[in-house]
Subunit: 312 residues, 2 copies
Amino acid sequence: MTVSRALNAPGKVTPETLARVRTAVDALGYVPNAMASGLRMARARMVAALLPTLVGPVFQELVESLAESLKRSGYQLMIGQAGYDAAQEEELIKTIIQRRPDGIVLVGLVSSPGARNALLASRIPVVETWDFTDHPIDMLVGFSHGAIGASVAQFLHDRGHRHVAIITANDARAQARTAAFMERSKALGAQSAQCFLTTAPSTVGAGRKGLATLLQTAPEITGVFCSSDSLALGALIEAQHQGRRVPQQLAIVGLGDQSFAQDAQPALTTVRLDGTRIGALAAELMIARAEGRPVAEPVVDVGFHMVVRDST
Amino acid sequence: MTVSRALNAPGKVTPETLARVRTAVDALGYVPNAMASGLRMARARMVAALLPTLVGPVFQELVESLAESLKRSGYQLMIGQAGYDAAQEEELIKTIIQRRPDGIVLVGLVSSPGARNALLASRIPVVETWDFTDHPIDMLVGFSHGAIGASVAQFLHDRGHRHVAIITANDARAQARTAAFMERSKALGAQSAQCFLTTAPSTVGAGRKGLATLLQTAPEITGVFCSSDSLALGALIEAQHQGRRVPQQLAIVGLGDQSFAQDAQPALTTVRLDGTRIGALAAELMIARAEGRPVAEPVVDVGFHMVVRDST
DNA sequence: TTGTACGCGTTATCAC
DNA sequence: GTGATAACGCGTACAA
């Protein structure tokens, strides 16, 4: 007990005792056991995050910012990769709940009812991110993918493009962007809104292949929305390879504003998503909830904005 | 006790009891507490990994493969970001040891003696990765950065380049590559081996800026080793921007064989590092050690190999 | 200021 | 096949 006090509240023991404890700690190589502490206190001082993938630059800002903010408040971050598969997600969530983290940050909305129920039953604070809904499990920091698709369609139309297309993956969020993009284009009277779904992950190679296929089936297009910057870079390379000048003959819009977007030649027009802000806000909500403070605004739409550069 | 058996060894209870337990579990929403279990068993069923950074594509294959392999054996992965700073690393290692993970995977060698001692005293299995030394703390799966620098210098020399340069970051591993590259170039009688250290992280932008600076101070160079594929892509873009033809007037070699390397135009010559293999091997060693099985080969050099494409 | 008793939730062990 | 007991290491509550 005296050791526990000496380490956690040094002011509550005499300097002499403190010194004796410290000497013994050093001599024995004593390290407090966080599992025992967590069990006793019913607080793990740890927050779990669940991502679809760690591969690809998309969520890196978010994770880095989340980890940094949590560390500053004395929480560790535990990361799980769920893939884009609902069954795997559910299993991983249940494993995570067993560890009794002080909070769970999810990248994306929870799809399966099983996972949703497990989270609700656990009474652990949850922040969903990187998407938007009016009915989150608990808290939410994100943006609307449908709004992005519509905005880009509007942007291309405003620039005079009447034959547009989208190159995209086919996960749920990508589908929301695609549907909104197609719908807005149609509403604006764009002559054609080709849609090409790559099955591969969002790589530069997929972008090249995507644009190549697109230019064969619909050579009349003058504007393309690529639903990640990697895809956009691939499309840019393929366009240059085929002798189509960007932006004169083909306008390209990316998504994510990865650091390379501004260094491409021409620099990529893209949609900026503020992963750093999302991570910091998610951490803030999480910590407030974990420490019993009230959360003023548990649902935050951080939005997005277009960054217009030279590829359009 | 019967519940514990029903959940962990269903064969040891009667089907009837099992059914009663399962009903109660569902009705009450019971979820086993992994902290209590870990405390009692002295096994957390968790492995911690420490990375310099999650940003950038460099370690993604490794982490993904590590997480996947561990999950298959029933271990969770906890990730910590240490930055490239020794003090921060030491602090993080001590925090991690408090959680009593079954193993610790380090990306990079441990530099500070304090961290080294803490790890040794903890008696937790440790795998260092992504580098090589003959005296690891415990186990090691990696490759020699010096050997990479020398190999690339040799490769460029064999291709007839007599004025070569390196564009690189300046962390410890980058310095090892740079020193070996310079030394081998000199030994081979290359007329000049310019060295340019970017202070920024290894981004496409840094690669562009690096090459631009280099071409001003040493326009005679015909071969450049960029110590990441992102830098190489930046150099490629800058070369094309300045009208230098690649590979005819300037040969570019990258490092990492990221997926975009093969999709650049021209496709990038690079050095392949098998992150997936390193992750899988590290997990294998870790699990064997954690479960008390002997580890035949605790120090593995997985090497690397040049992937020659069109940029040289 | 320091020390004692107890309980957090789990599982190894032994008795029934 | 099932249940009782104890112990993992910590911190709260209270006694000295």
